[in-house]
Amino acid sequence: MTSHALVDRPSRRRTPVSWVRGGGLTTLVFALPMLVIFGVFSWAPIVKAVVMSFQKTNLIVTEWVGLENFQRVFADPVLPMAVRNTAYFALLALIFGYPVPLIAAVLMSEVRRAKGLYSALAYLPVVVPPVVAVLLWKFFYDPRPEGVFNTIIGYVGIPPQPWLQSATSAMPSLVLEATWAAAGGTVIIYLAALTAVPTELYDAAEVDGASVWGKVWHVTMPQLRGVLLITFILQIIGTAQVFLEPYLFTGGGPANATVSVLLLVYRYAFQNSLGGNYGMATALSLMLAAFLAVMSLVYFRLTRSWSTS
């Protein structure tokens, strides 16, 4: 980091002229796109988010209101529902989507012919535009007996289900589609991690007489724990910000059973008949971000001794 590989710096006092001669200006020209784009579209909004959460604005008049935005968010009767739904979505997504990619990846890593075919098939849903995926699945969830999924479960004698129409089955239906769309990415991450397992460990386990399952359980799994810990928290951070599925499948219904926190942020800011309440929207999104940050810190603190990667 200390060597200035290409720029000959004069050891004398720095003046504007020596700065330009030494390549400082050229460096700045190269850095300009990064500094401007990150400054305006990344850092300015982050700072603005904090400021706005203490303000009330109608885009013409802006006033400071202290903690009022936060108080109004907490007073919103939809908030507890949104938090509960988001937590439920995240939990279901873990149950549906966490073990399956791991099992698939361990099996796939042993494939000897056409390994590429397996990973390509697994990854294919990830490249499908999420909007198309959701709208297509929405049609699959057609509650009529002629609906795609109702036809399929009819083959094994299960009666037609209401899927998205009922408050109890709506959320699992959303999660099923979300899992379809995302699982392939996790499979590929695990496959990459599996190639990094030191092969001597398998040789050593064989010398000790380990069975096939013994090797998978006592060598592969412990070697993956670093990446397993990370995909776990990343999945929670991702699902805590779920928006597309509730927005397009159900619009938050039926009876707010699928309203997520981010959908609530969207409603505050952009679906408000009284004009966008940007203060409440940023207050809620900051609280979500703060919660995720604290949760991640606690998580990594708790699991630190466990992951020695």
Binding site: S119, Y123, V126, V128, P130, A192, T199
Partner: protein
């Protein structure tokens, strides 16, 4: 864009990307790439039978679960509406209706939204490439005194969830600095924020860090200035990582929904992802399914052509939702 920016802690980055990839596709040393099952395990009939069965089952599951919905979509795209609604799983009971595709492309103007999607993806790609390559060059090769501060500021944005940016970024687009008119209903509103991808900068910087410094020194001795070095030496040597960044830039833009929905209110400017939900309620199912299929075919073709780049990039956590 903001909602799909991939996030990952540095720990996920394996060495693959840091070293230029090996030329040959298959490694010839069999000991190097063994897995849990050894060659002698595979010789045992019981192990062989169990694992071969599991692999066949897995293949069937993958085909049905991952590809099945897409095959159905392809079938619906050329099926008459009545058959889609009454017997969705029957295979063309009343023949094929190719005109669905024609109707989607011309009658509901999918062609226009398709062009918008392509233009948005192309601009986002240019913006991401420009920021990531010049930024990476500064942080890795030019290394001014302030590089470590710039790097820290860029890296820190990786840990800010996209949800925080949504509303304030929208207001910045509404009243951008230096420009006195709103960027809403302008493609710039999508192109410019797309460039602020810390993930890209990290990937490119890491790759540049591993390029051999002796070549830079030699080029300098031969009289190459910083621009020449960037354009003729660094960029050509970095094709593998630029390919990965490119395919993910294009796919992310194609998939993006929330951000273009907010900033492109004029339907004539909207991409497919924003337009399709509003067509859903009013359009004939056959035409609609053809429109979905048209919106899906480009990403799928890109994936089939650039499969290795996708899978290499995804192994870096690129597919992890932000």
């Amino acid at each position: 864009m903001t909602t799909t920016t991939p996030k990952l802690p540095e720990a996920v980055l394996p060495d693959v990307l840091e070293n230029p990839p090996a030329r040959s596709r298959r490694s010839s040393a069999p000991t190097a790439d063994r897995t849990a099952l050894s060659v002698s395990d595979w010789r045992r009939p019981r192990v062989r039978r169990t694992w071969n069965t599991m692999h066949v089952v897995l293949l069937v599951v993958l085909v049905v679960w991952c590809v099945g919905p897409l095959l159905l979509l392809g079938k619906f795209a050329i099926t008459p509406t009545q058959d889609i609604l009454r017997t969705p799983l029957a295979i063309f009971p009343n023949g094929v209706k190719w005109s669905n595709l024609y109707e989607a492309w011309f009658d509901i103007n999918i062609s226009k939204y398709f062009v918008n999607t392509v233009v948005l993806a192309a601009g986002s790609w240019v913006s991401q490439m420009l920021v990531a390559t010049t930024g990476g060059y500064v942080l890795s090769v030019l290394r001014p005194r302030w590089a470590k501060y710039a790097q820290a500021l860029v890296l820190a944005t990786l840990f800010v969830p996209a949800v925080v940016l949504l509303v304030p970024l929208y207001l910045i687009i509404l009243h951008p600095p230096l420009v006195d008119h709103s960027l809403v209903n302008s493609f710039w509103a999508v192109w410019l924020p797309a460039g602020a991808s810390a993930f890209n900068v990290v990937l490119v910087t890491r790759f540049f860090d591993n390029l051999p410094r002796e070549i830079f020194e030699a080029a300098k001795v031969d009289g190459a200035g910083p621009f020449r070095l960037f354009w003729s030496i660094v960029l050509p040597m970095s094709k593998p990582i630029l390919g990965v960044v490119s395919v993910f830039a294009v796919i992310a833009s194609w998939k993006d929904f929330l951000w273009p929905l907010l900033v492109l209110r004029n339907p004539d400017l909207q991409p497919l992802s924003v337009r399709l939900p509003s067509l859903e309620a009013t359009t004939d199912k056959g035409t609609l399914m053809a429109a979905y299929a048209i919106a899906t075919i480009i990403p799928i073709l890109m994936f089939l052509v650039f499969q290795r780049m996708f899978l290499r990039g995804a192994g870096l956590g690129g597919a992890v939702k932000g």
